[in-house]
Amino acid sequence: MSIRVTDNAQYSSVIDNLFTIRKQYQNVMEKLASQKNINKISDDALGMTRVLSFKQTNQAIGQYQRNINNTSSWLSATEGKLNNANDILTEARALAVSQATATANSGSRKIAAQKVQSLMDEMLSLANSKFGDRYLFSGSRSDTAPFTSEEGVAKIDAPVAGGANSYGGTVVQSGTYTGGTNKSYVLKITTAGDQTQAKYKISSDGGKTWGAESAAGAIDVPNFVIGDGIELTFPDGEFAENDLFYVNAYSAGYYQGNGGDLSVTVNKDSSADYNITGEEAFTDKGGGKIDVFKALKSFKDALEGNDVDGISTAIGDMKEAQEQINICTAKCGSRANRMEMAKNNLSELELNMTSLISATEDADIAELATSFSMKEVALQAAYEVASRITSNSIIEFLK
């Protein structure tokens, strides 16, 4: 016996086919409209995972490029200022050479001293240059002007209490700062209690790394030393955990900044420093060999005092200072180069990523258009079949 084709089966198979074709038709239409192969995560789960990872990379690349652009302008500003500093020193050196000769006299030297003073002012103003809101040469303390106009002695600022401290009493500093560079000392309470109970930790680098916890009651001693000759006294009061006190201490000289580096991420797992500290460029600390401001000051003093030996020394000093600045300029240049290279690498990578995303995610329009017309034909055929279904029955012939 042949297979019976029943009416119900015929109807449901027509409907089934219509649904199937319409679904495929809609799928192709959605892809055409969005021009994307992946419209839902289930369309291609593996592809979606890859696209997400590419997009993360792309987003990160965009960020790195923004970082590099920001720091590149910082670097070129720094380079400009250093070049200006070099010019000033050239001028000072020429002055020193001319005033060291026998033809110069105390009168001309007095006038030259005035000139040196104005050069010093100029130097101060460029060493205190800002980029946006931040000082170029303050190290990582970039919200503080790096240089003062007068040479300072070693000093300890009044302690500052943290904004959320529960300790309401006073803190008094004493002692003489013996540290070689400017530092921020931080004292943090680690165990709460009154003065006999409280324990603390000390950081000499602004709170990045911490020493061992003190014994209980160590805070109770007047003028206890927290380091480099800095002494603190807490007269009375109750401490809570995480109460914080910090003291800025400055070594003798003009510099108020620190030796901290500013760095920025330029690629995955790779960051680059982008600042030149005032310390290395203008002082004899950090990487520096000569204190530029001190040298200018003694040159000026020598001129005023008509001190020929002093003026001759200044010739060498100026030369040394120029070399120091030039080293920093070169450093600036190599950093800018590194940024430039990183930027080029990133552009290349970005191009690759974008084409990878496109290859995975974007639809092939030509192919889609073809399959769209195919589906359209199929759909029309299915409709045609559906319209014929009733006309073929024995009833038609039984008239």
């Binding site: 009416d7 994307k36 995560i41 995972t49 993360q56 943290g162 680098d205 602004g206 709170g207 990045k208």
Partner: protein, 459 residues
């Protein structure tokens, strides 16, 4: 042989063909009734032997109305209904979950996370900048909100699934009691000559509806009663008694028992109930767990670094994100309110006295560190593979649903081929039976004339 005997013969033929046309009419009217099995009058010659060897007069009668029904196919369809019911429900529920992770349109969590890490980088370059701080807080809030929404949406679907389970359980009870009622009537009536054909169809439809909902086995006993068993051997229908399932404390239980049957019912991947239970107890908790892991690790890592940093007021030891409680971390994730109120509370600096963005930089580089999945994946790749996994689950469920549906369609078309009504066939049968009826009528007329002739003879 007698003439009156011939009249009897034509009478039997007339009633038989009328009945046969009745049955055919029944088939035609039920041409599109779902589950209807076509019937056929079984016509049999009845020998009426008269006077030994002198002659045989044959009559006709309908011995029974036969129902075309393939038991073996029925078993397969019931089994397939269970699989199709499972995969259809699974695919539609996971389809709702897919909408939550709309990464394909590029506006999902992935993008927000990228911008979040970027904002820390921007802050690192200009740690004192109010604009950078504002931007960071706003993208962080967006990140937290995104986590909240995804977790809440998953939760909603879980709750809906719970309600569906409740509804499904009462539907199952209704169908089970229908089957028990039908069992009762069928055993009372018996089905010797087709009296219960309609009820059998109805019962088999109920069984199929039931099998869509729950994993079951069945057997027809000697009395014609259909007994339904659950996968653990518990009886759902025995003869004319139906047992009830209940939904108590979010668990499916048998009768008044308090023992949860969730696992037993979900095991075989059969029936809507199993799909609902699997989505509620497996899929969603899995996704929620992953999302919570991700949120938790981001919160912990960012907070750990943020605590070490100093804000613009030199405060230290503060969190950046908060999440209430150990559960539902993603759903409860927020930016600390102090930071929202005052962006200067962001601890971007690694040292006291601001101007330093080292902490912000350290937080920004968290994105490249392998912190997830026992330190084998970054946040981004973890989320990427999580989305991939969900996508795969959905794609699997979709293709499974399509596959099971195709098989079911094929089986049903096989069933239709045996049990379904073909109008063409029925029309031919009508013609055949009409012809028989007409002929029998003519026979009756002829016998009548013969009788007339006979009567005239004796006048």
């Amino acid at each position: 042989m007698s003439l009156s005997g011939l009249l009897q013969v034509s009478r039997s033929a007339l009633t038989t063909y009328q009945m046969a046309i009745d049955v055919t009419g029944g088939n035609i009217t039920n041409v599109s009734t779902p589950g209807y099995s076509r019937q056929r009058a079984v016509i049999k010659a009845t020998g009426d032997v008269q006077g030994g060897a002198t002659g045989t007069q044959m009559g006709v009668e309908i011995t029974k109305v036969e129902r075309f029904f393939d038991n073996y196919l029925e078993v397969q369809i019931v089994d397939q209904q269970q699989k199709a019911g499972y995969s259809e429900t699974e695919s539609s529920l996971l389809g709702r979950i897919e909408l939550i992770f709309n990464e394909a349109k590029g506006a999902g969590l992935n993008d927000v996370m990228g911008r979040f890490w970027g904002a820390w980088d921007d802050l690192a370059i200009n740690p004192g900048g109010q604009v950078e701080r504002d931007a960071l807080v706003s993208v962080s809030e967006e990140l937290a909100t995104r986590f909240n929404t995804i977790a809440a949406d998953l939760n909603d679907i879980q709750q809906d699934t719970n309600l569906s389970i409740k509804d499904t359980v009462s539907e199952i009870n209704k169908l089970a009691s229908d089957i028990a009622d039908l069992n009762k009537t069928i055993s009372e009536r018996g089905n010797v000559s087709g009296e219960s054909n309609r009820l059998l169809d109805e019962r088999s439809e109920s069984l199929k509806s039931l099998s869509k909902l729950i994993d079951l086995n069945y057997v027809v006993d000697d009395n014609g009663a259909l007994n339904v068993f659950l996968p653990n051997g518990k009886q759902l229908v025995t003869g004319n008694i139906a047992w009830e399932l209940n939904f108590r404390n979010d668990h499916v239980v048998f009768g008044s028992s308090s023992e949860s049957m969730d696992q037993i019912l979900a095991q075989g991947d059969k029936g809507k109930l199993a799909a609902l239970l699997n989505v509620r107890d497996d899929y969603i908790p899995d996704y929620q767990g992953k999302l919570d892991d991700l949120a938790k690790e981001i919160i912990t890592q960012v907070n750990d670094l943020h605590q070490e940093g100093y804000d613009a007021y030199q405060n230290t030891g503060n969190d950046f994100f908060v999440s209430a409680g150990p559960d539902n971390i993603a759903q409860n994730m927020t930016v600390k309110s102090e930071i929202i109120d005052d962006v200067n509370r962001i601890a971007a600096s690694a040292v006291v006295s601001s101007g330093n963005g080292e902490k912000a930089l350290a937080i920004a580089t968290l994105k490249d560190q392998l912190l997830m999945n026992s330190d084998t994946a970054t946040f981004g790749s973890f989320y990427g593979s999580m989305v991939g996994e969900i996508g795969r689950d959905i794609a699997d469920a979709n293709s499974n649903a399509e596959h099971q549906d195709t098989i079911l369609t094929q089986l049903i078309s096989h069933r239709d081929s045996a049990s379904g009504v073909s109008v063409d066939e029925e029309m031919m049968n009508i013609i055949k039976y009409q012809m028989g009826y007409n002929a029998a009528g003519r026979l009756c007329q002829t016998v009548n004339e013969l009788l007339d002739t006979l009567m005239n003879l004796v006048k």
